[in-house]
């Protein structure tokens, strides 16, 4: 089985079967455009936006999911559900916030809808149920509202509460 080497942003070169590597649409496009399928396996696919650690997690997921049907075209501008993450993916994604966000960016860059979906669902599920006071701490963000702004944004969002 011909293989493809991808060069990550920090120089490492994880190797993968070409069929597995073609799952990320970005790579598939590169491989096919440059006719790497029948190359001797010496060409490198450069991925300057993805570091090796993330790539090392993306590739096993591609392998595991290589026989999945392609995800259906979903309506981009519609509310999405957050259930239905397979047990295997749940295990893979038991990582810290930072890694999860990096996986989201990688999935976006590599145009991998399936991975993008499960990583977003995982982050979303960590967010749900938390209050506006708890969330900045969980994600290490600063609540930068002034007191007045905070009162206003709370007031203009209470219409959605329990009535």
């Amino acid at each position: 089985m011909p293989s493809v080497k991808a060069q990550s942003s920090d120089g490492e070169i994880p190797e993968a079967d070409v069929e597995v590597a073609k799952q990320p649409v970005t790579i598939k496009t590169m491989v096919e455009d440059l006719r790497m399928d029948d190359a001797g396996g010496n060409d490198l696919v450069p991925l300057p936006n993805v570091n090796a650690a993330i790539l090392k997690q993306v590739i096993p997921r591609c392998t595991h999911h290589k026989d999945d049907p392609p995800p259906p075209e979903d309506d981009e501008n519609k509310e999405k559900r957050t259930d239905c993450v397979s047990v295997w993916d749940q295990e893979l994604l038991k990582v810290g916030q930072g890694t999860l966000f990096e996986l989201i960016l990688a999935a976006n860059y590599l145009d991998m809808k399936g991975l993008l979906d499960v990583t977003c669902k995982t982050v979303a599920n960590r967010i749900k149920g938390k209050t506006p006071e708890e969330l900045p701490k969980t994600f290490n963000i600063k609540n930068d509202f002034t007191e007045e702004e905070e009162a206003r944004v709370r007031k203009e969002n209470q219409w959605c509460g329990e009535k």
């Binding site: 239905c84 810290g96 916030q97 966000f101 977003c120 206003r152 509460g161």
Partner: protein, 481 residues
């Protein structure tokens, strides 16, 4: 509400379209998702074969580029030992990603309206991304009279700043418990009120004829109007305020509304596409008032709990509104099978029919429906207590039927279910409150592999084992307990 209505029915935000909410099951550790749109389509198979290999171990250290600031490992320990791989990591690196707009623009789609309201309060970056109109399309804020004012230290009242609503581009508002004065204040203080608001809904409000006239005159963009529980306006008010630009009107539980209101509607609203009426005193005669213009433009008619309407009224409807694609006679308790026969023979374009809470409807009505309404996609029979398995056998021939509601059809048994199993077109089925269905009868539903939503609330036959069975064999279907 027993009837789910059809698309376009103005509903407050946060409530699921047809009253269905999935309760968190114990096995679902990810928590529940509530359904707020049309029946959900799962966009990924969630049951995959067991993994042959364990997922990659994350004990290996994650190499990181040089960090600016943040805690340093103590001297002598290798950088990034196993323990650090799961730690949140130094804030300096994480900070940008949690407010990265590219991530947030994708992430915020995974939240309901209520959840987005919470998230907007976290920080400026989250609010900025969230306040884009795309995240609020189709939602209507519900504002109570008290919420419209701030009380100043001096004791005076000041109207709240509604800029946060304008930014989000809401096209419609629902105001509850408001007076004529409150409505005028809203119009004066909301920048987009004159042209930008397309839908107004007033509930349990004291709006008068004069108030209604001013509102519709000032808010030139309003084409969808709902009045519910407003007892201070009269039919004269409708005559003086209804404007030809209105395409959708809903009036319910307003004590002064009777036949003359229909006269006003039929004369003044040539572009009316959708009419929803809940009025105890409207009679058959009024349903003949509709003009040729409405005959052409009106595609949705809902007569809800119009207790005085009989089959004669149905005759008037099918003759004056021949182009209906959606009809509800929910709670019109005097309508019988003969009325349904008239509907089936004359309204061939119907895609949605609601006969819920019509206690006189029998299996015969279903024979008429199945025979003539070939385009029907949605049929609501909640509380039609005389429906039996025979009626379901008639329905089994309907090849376009996507949604079937049989809530509290208490005579339905396992034998009737069998007739439904051949209906490949079915995507939504509700059997809530059907006491005679057994577990083994219900288990046959796995044959409907294309089913997207199945409601089994208050079904004694729906045991935990059955739900487990469904989650394995009907993986793409949302099963509601």
């Amino acid at each position: 509400m027993s009837s789910p209505g059809v698309d376009g029915d103005p509903k407050p935000p946060c409530l699921p379209r047809n009253g269905l909410v999935k309760l968190p099951g114990q096995s679902n550790s990810l928590g529940a998702a509530s359904i707020t749109g049309t029946p959900a389509v799962k966009n990924r198979l969630c049951q995959l074969p067991p993994p042959p290999l364990p997922p990659p171990s994350l004990a290996a250290p994650l190499p990181r580029a040089t960090l600016a600031g943040g805690p340093c490992p103590s001297v002598g320990l290798p950088l990034g030992g196993p323990a650090s791989s799961l730690a949140p990591g130094p804030p300096a690196e994480r900070l940008p990603l949690a407010i990265d707009e590219k991530i947030l623009n994708g992430l915020f789609w995974y939240f309901s309206a209520c959840e987005k309201c919470v998230l907007a309060q976290v920080c400026r970056a989250w609010r900025r991304v969230l306040y884009q109109p795309k995240f609020w399309a189709g939602l209507t804020p519900v504002l109570h009279a008290k919420e419209l004012y701030n009380v100043l230290p001096s004791g005076e009242k000041e109207f709240v700043n509604l800029q946060g609503f304008a930014t989000r581009g809401f096209e419609g508002f629902c105001l509850v418990g408001v007076s004529d004065l409150d409505i005028c204040e809203f119009i004066d203080n909301y920048a987009l009120s004159k042209k930008g608001v397309k839908a107004m809904s007033l509930k349990r409000s004291t709006i008068t004829d004069a108030g209604l006239e001013v509102m519709l005159e000032q808010m030139q963009g309003v084409v969808r109007l709902e009045l519910s529980g407003c007892n201070d306006f009269t039919e004269a008010g409708l005559w003086s305020s209804l404007s030809a630009r209105i395409t959708s009107l809903s009036v319910s539980d307003c004590i002064n509304v009777a036949d003359d209101a229909i006269a006003a509607i039929s004369q003044l609203l040539p572009n009316l596409a959708e009419l929803s009426l809940q009025a105890y005193h409207v009679t058959d005669t009024a349903l003949a008032y509709f003009t040729a213009r409405q005959g052409h433009s009106t595609h949705t008619l809902r007569l809800l709990s119009c207790w005085e309407i009989t089959n004669h009224g149905v005759v008037n409807v099918v003759h004056s509104l021949p182009n209906l694609t959606a009809l509800s006679l929910s709670g019109c308790s005097k309508v019988t099978d003969d009325g349904v026969e008239l509907v089936a023979e004359n309204l061939r374009k119907l895609r949605s029919l609601d006969l819920s809470w019509c206690p006189r409807i029998t299996d015969m009505a279903l024979e008429y429906v199945a025979c003539d309404l070939h385009r029907l996609e949605e049929l609501v029979l909640d509380r039609c207590v005389r429906i039996t398995d025979t009626g379901l056998s008639y329905l089994s021939t309907m090849s376009s039927l996507r949604s079937l509601y049989l809530r509290w059809c208490c005579q339905v048994q396992d034998f009737g279910l069998k007739h439904l199993l051949a209906m490949r077109s079915l995507r939504l089925l509700s059997l809530a409150g059907c006491p005679l269905l057994t577990t083994s009868g219900l288990s046959g539903l796995v044959q409907l592999q294309e089913l997207e939503e199945l409601e089994l609330t208050n079904c004694p036959g729906a045991t935990p084992e059955l739900f487990k069975y469904f989650s394995q064999h009907l993986p793409r279907c949302l099963v509601i307990e």
